[in-house]
C-alpha cells in the first residue's frame, strides 16, 4: 500500500511538471523558427514603418473615384445646385422629411463656415458668405466610418474606392454617424416611404432603422452613366468626376491646374471630394 502511494505521487508530480512546462517549450522552439527566418521579415517591417511616416500624403493604388466641385459655377447659377440635389434624391428614392432632426440627406446645402471650418476666418467675401455649398459623402481614402462599423455593413470598394453601404446588414447602431467628420450619414428614424414623392423602380428605398448616405451612384456607374448630380450639372462643368489615381483623367487635370480645398483635411480621412472656392 505504502509503495503504491509513493509511486502514485511520483507519477502525479511528473505529469504536473510536464503539463506546466509543455507550453513554454513549444513557445521557445517556435521562437527559434522565427529567429531563423528573421532576415526575410526585417525588410517588409522597415517598409511598413516608412509607409506610416508618410501617412498623410500616401496615395492609394488602384481606382479611387472622386470629384471636383467648381463653386464658381454655382455662385452664378443658383438653381444649378437645386437641380443636382433633386436629380440625386429622385434616382435614389431619398425621402423629403421636413423635420430637421430626422431628415435624410445624400447631397445637401450648407454654409461655407460649416463645410470648411478649418478654412474659415472672419473676413470672408460676400459671395462665399451668402452662397450654399453642396456637400456629400467624401468617399474618403481612409474612411473613419468603415472602421467604426461593427457589422461591416459599410465598407470601401477595392475596385473603385467608393465607400458603400449594405443596407441588408446595417443594424442601425449609428457608430458610423458618430465617426463621420462630415455628417454625411442620415438615420432612418421612421419608415421613409410616406415622404417619398415618386419612386424610382430601379432602386430600392431604405427601411426604418438603417443609416444611409451617398453611394457615388454605383448603380449608375455600372450602366456606364455618370453620377446623377454630375449629369444634372452637365454642360456647366460645375462637377468633374473621375479616377483620382489616373494622372490623365479629367479630374486630375483640373486638380493640377486649379487651387482646390478639401473638407476638414486635418481629420486625416483624405476626402475624395475637392472644391474650387
Amino acid at each position: 500500500m505504502d509503495k503504491k502511494r509513493r509511486k502514485f505521487l511520483k507519477m502525479a508530480g511528473a505529469t504536473v511538471l510536464a503539463g506546466i512546462s509543455a507550453p513554454t517549450i513549444v513557445k521557445l522552439s517556435s521562437n527559434h523558427a522565427v529567429a531563423a527566418s528573421g532576415g526575410d521579415h526585417a525588410a517588409p517591417a522597415a517598409a511598413h514603418g516608412e509607409a506610416d511616416a508618410h501617412h498623410g500624403e500616401e496615395q492609394s493604388s488602384g481606382v479611387q473615384l472622386g470629384m471636383v466641385i467648381d463653386m464658381r459655377k454655382f455662385y452664378d447659377d443658383e438653381l444649378l445646385l437645386d437641380k443636382a440635389i433633386a436629380a440625386c434624391h429622385k434616382v435614389h428614392n431619398v425621402p423629403d422629411i421636413p423635420e430637421r432632426k430626422s431628415e435624410i440627406k445624400w447631397i445637401w446645402k450648407t454654409g461655407y463656415h460649416n463645410a470648411f471650418p478649418d478654412h474659415s476666418h472672419n473676413l470672408r467675401s460676400q459671395t462665399i458668405e451668402n452662397s450654399p455649398f453642396p456637400v456629400l459623402c467624401n468617399h474618403c481614402e481612409n474612411p473613419s466610418c468603415v472602421k467604426a462599423c461593427p457589422t461591416k455593413a459599410t465598407f470601401k470598394h477595392e475596385k473603385n474606392g467608393i465607400v458603400s453601404m449594405d443596407y441588408h446588414r446595417c443594424i442601425g447602431c449609428r457608430f458610423c454617424m458618430a465617426a463621420c467628420p462630415y455628417g454625411a450619414r442620415s438615420f432612418n428614424w421612421q419608415d421613409p416611404r410616406p415622404f417619398i414623392k415618386e419612386y424610382n423602380l430601379q432602386f430600392p428605398t431604405r427601411g426604418r432603422g438603417v443609416v444611409e448616405k451617398c453611394n457615388f451612384c454605383s448603380e449608375r456607374l455600372a450602366l456606364g452613366l455618370e453620377p446623377a448630380c454630375v449629369e444634372a450639372c452637365k454642360g456647366s462643368g460645375a462637377i468633374v468626376f473621375g479616377d483620382l489615381n489616373d494622372p490623365h483623367s479629367e479630374v486630375r487635370e483640373v486638380l493640377n491646374k486649379e487651387f482646390t480645398i478639401q473638407r476638414k483635411p486635418a481629420a486625416g480621412t483624405r476626402p475624395s471630394v475637392f472644391y474650387i472656392v
Binding site: 475596385k159 441588408h168 419612386y199 430600392p204 426604418r208 448603380e219
Partner: protein
C-alpha cells in the same frame, strides 16, 4: 411501476396537446398554395422551377453580395431577355404581383421575409402613383 395510471394518462394528454395542430386540422395541411404564373406570359425563369422553389433565397443572397460587395452587376440572360441582378430588376419584372406570387407561399409557410421593407413592389408603386 408505481402510479401507472397517472403516468400513462399524463403522457397521453401530453402527446395529444403537442400534436394538437395536426389532429385539429383533420390530418390535412390545408390547400397547397398555387403561386400565380407570370402575368406577362414568361415561361422561363433564371433557374428551373424546382430549384427556384427550394433555393430562391440563396440565389437572392448571392445576387445581393455580387452587386453590393463585388460590384459584379453582370446581366443574366434568360431566353434572350436580359435581367439585372435584383429583386426589383429581375424577379418583379415577371412576377409582378407579389401578393399572388410571393405571399401565397410565404403565408402558407408562415415566413415573413423583410425584402419589401425596402424593395418596392408594383402594388406599392401603384399606390404611390394614385396619391
Amino acid at each position: 411501476m408505481y402510479n401507472k395510471g397517472l403516468i400513462v394518462s399524463g403522457l397521453v394528454i401530453f402527446v395529444l396537446l403537442v400534436t394538437f395542430p395536426i389532429w385539429f386540422n383533420g390530418l390535412d395541411a390545408g390547400p397547397l398554395p398555387k403561386p400565380e404564373l407570370p402575368p406577362n406570359g414568361t415561361k422561363e425563369c433564371v433557374a428551373p422551377a424546382a430549384e427556384m422553389r427550394a433555393k430562391h433565397m440563396q440565389l437572392l443572397n448571392e445576387w445581393r453580395d455580387d452587386v453590393i460587395r463585388n460590384s459584379n452587376r453582370e446581366k443574366i440572360v434568360v431566353a434572350g431577355v436580359e435581367y439585372g441582378k435584383g429583386l426589383q430588376l429581375a424577379c418583379m419584372e415577371c412576377h409582378s404581383n407579389k401578393e399572388k406570387f410571393c405571399d401565397s407561399c410565404h403565408d402558407y409557410a408562415a415566413v415573413q421575409p423583410t425584402c419589401w421593407e425596402c424593395h418596392i413592389t408594383p402594388t406599392e408603386a401603384a399606390k404611390k402613383e394614385a396619391q
